[in-house]
Symmetry: C2
Subunit: 114 residues, 2 copies
DNA sequence: GTGCCCGGTATCAAAACCATACCGTGATCA
DNA sequence: TGATCACGGTATGGTTTTGATACCGGGCAC
């Protein structure tokens, strides 16, 4: 009821700040294909460092966006999977991803002009 | 063709990086209501500092997402307005905003549990 | 000629992010 | 039995973004 991100003190600000973290959009889009292991994510999301991936996953887990399941095997196996909440975020974040992929030429052209 | 944000060197990465900047989502959602002056934006987007607002606006202007029109009046008047490209970004970014406003209780509850 | 309005800058501090190297645990293999 | 490997991370140190606070320049009204 009546949450508004334009208000500095509204809790939705915190939420937006979290889902706006640089790598959340990558993780959500990657896990859209199904559960993945840490190394799968690292391979799929090229260029992410293990430290930042760990931090992103831990934060998303704390926010209830995904689950982390560690199996007592060796070598270790850890699986990450979107929760229902995380899945509900996929709609918006897939749209953002698709927008980025669809508008590369326009953005690059605008940058060149300026 | 075939842009893919998961590839570290794909230009769509740069685009996603830009539109994922912390305040872009606020500016686009604010300007959805129509053109605004600098001080209007500052008032509407509570808590943004003038420095960061300026940087965000300059970057978005360079990317062709909005236009900046300065009138030779005094006191000065500067209007910002979404371009067609910026308007096309409103769909995705409004969805993100609405998701944040809609899921505050779940996120806060998950944080409390952990 | 003093003070106000507007659209910003300047300066410095904190937080987020990144590159690179390294670690602990068992299983596997020579 | 001792060296090696896979996996899921940490440690360390530097750069980039973001933030808080203060200040500025130019007209115009008084």
């Amino acid at each position: 009821m009546a949450y508004n991100v334009m208000s500095a003190t509204c809790p939705s600000r915190v939420v937006l700040h979290r889902i706006g973290a640089r790598w959340t959009v990558f993780v959500v889009n990657a896990l859209a294909e199904g559960p993945m292991r840490f190394s799968d994510l690292r391979t799929r999301i090229q260029g992410i460092t293990p430290k930042v991936l760990t931090e992103t996953l831990r934060s998303m887990e704390a926010d209830g966006l995904l689950t982390r399941t560690a199996y007592a095997e060796n070598p270790p196996r850890v699986e990450y999977d979107l929760t229902e909440l995380g899945l509900s975020l996929l709609g918006p974040l897939r749209a953002v991803r698709e927008w980025a992929e669809a508008h590369v030429p326009e953005i690059l052209a605008a940058r060149d002009r300026s």
